[in-house]
Amino acid sequence: MQTKRIIPVLFIQNGLIVRSEGFTNHQIIGNVISQAHRYDEWNVDELIYVDITKDKNYDARRDDHRIKSYTSIEDIIKAVSKVCFMPLTIGGGIRNIDDIAMRIESGADKVLLNTAVSSKPDLIKEAALRFGSQAIVVSVDYRVVDKKALCYTEFGLRNTGIELSGWLEKCEELGAGEIFLHAIDRDGMSDGFDIDVISKVVSKSKLPIISCGGAGMEEDFLDVFEQTNVSAAAAGNYFHFTESSYPRLKKFLKESNVYVRS
């Protein structure tokens, strides 16, 4: 039987791992590779890296922080995939099929597509045909506005006006393999997953859904797995700051009868 996945999400800015809040504030918390080692030791189900660098400047100035930074996302993927024997998903800054090819050839198993496919949905189809649907995760950032879930792009800044449910249907049609459902309003807020929207999406879509945004306590994960049929729950900050947060969460969920991998 399939287990529920718990997925740490790491945000990379200028070659370093940062913490994210409300999609805007970012604080450096470590080196890309040492973080990967840590998660590998925790025996995590999967890792998602999102590159949120805006100027494509992988900054070496940060060396004064005694944290080594990397000069390109290609180097980062190559280095991480050598130490991670788990599925690796890479997102951020992907604009076209060549960007996808480079990431997969460097060692990514899947790519996370967001802004590019909202303006060019056919990129999903093109990518799925070339690399297989299993490699294509569509990331959907949404906010609930007047009780409607609407899709956003450009790091949550631009409201596309497109309704979430219609867009997800289209992603499925075009050949997406998974959906990464990201509640912008809950990013860094630690007030629980967006159960309402997640359960609606899961009941409509045939695709595996990864929910993200709002995890603050172990109970939040329990709630989302008990109250929805979501395939996976992802979180960033939750795993960064608490000692052994990942293995402890797995233990808690197992004891609460959620079917997870130990």
């Binding site: 025996n43 050598k82 024997f85 788990m86 599925p87 460097s106 395939s231 996976a232």
Partner: protein
């Protein structure tokens, strides 16, 4: 663990070879990516990876002259072949993915779709699944505890073998499917050992140690 064996990973333009290579490096095993069929005989064991569509994979093998060479390779029973994911599916007689296509026919069986068979579960099957080991002796799964029998799967089609005695493990994903097969020198696993943490590395190591 240093093993004096050389492993060949078949490179036929399908799938992410880097991760298989990284896993073999981690196990400190001498390995080489083979993109020419005439080099197959230089290795002790072959790994056939694969991601994507069945028919395209068969076409690529054929176009590169690798199809006959693969069949010749396993005629020598001292040499072993391991198919991973789509690579396992290719070992069977046929597949119904996007039509009807012949496989390598090293083992009798067919590749079936989850569509219209599985309800209430996401398709494809993406994620970690505990598998059910059969009572028979298994070389690939040897020394793995029940708790360790959890692997990473990504597939929309599944294998159904004719002879159940070649099946070492099954999985119930709405329907019972065959996920580990071993018969003489032919081996296959539906999951990705190179992406299944310590359990997966153990399976690869078991294959290398045969």
């Amino acid at each position: 663990l240093a093993v004096e064996k050389k492993i060949g990973v078949v490179n036929y333009g399908v799938g992410n070879l880097a991760s298989v290579g990284n896993a073999l490096s981690k196990l400190e095993v001498d390995h080489v990516f083979l993109d020419e069929p005439n080099k197959f005989s230089s290795v002790d064991k072959l790994i056939l990876p694969g991601v994507g569509a069945f028919s395209i994979a068969m076409e690529e093998l054929r176009d590169r002259g690798m199809l006959d060479e693969l069949l010749r390779y396993v005629e020598n029973s001292d040499r072993q072949l391991l198919g991973i994911c789509l690579g396992m599916q290719l070992l069977l007689s046929e597949s119904c993915e996007n039509g009807n296509y012949e496989g390598l026919n090293l083992l009798s069986g067919s590749v079936e779709t989850f569509n219209n068979v599985v309800e209430d579960l996401p398709i494809p099957n993406i994620g970690w699944c505990y598998i059910n080991k059969k009572l028979k002796e298994s070389k690939l799964l040897s020394d793995l505890t029940e708790e360790q029998l959890c692997f990473y799967f990504v597939h929309g089609y599944y294998c159904k073998l004719v002879e159940q005695n070649v099946v070492s493990a099954t999985l119930n994903y709405g329907v019972n499917i065959d996920v580990v097969i071993e018969h003489n020198n032919i081996f296959g696993c539906q999951f990705h050992p190179e992406k299944s943490q310590a359990s997966g590395l153990k399976v690869l190591n078991n294959f290398i140690s045969i």
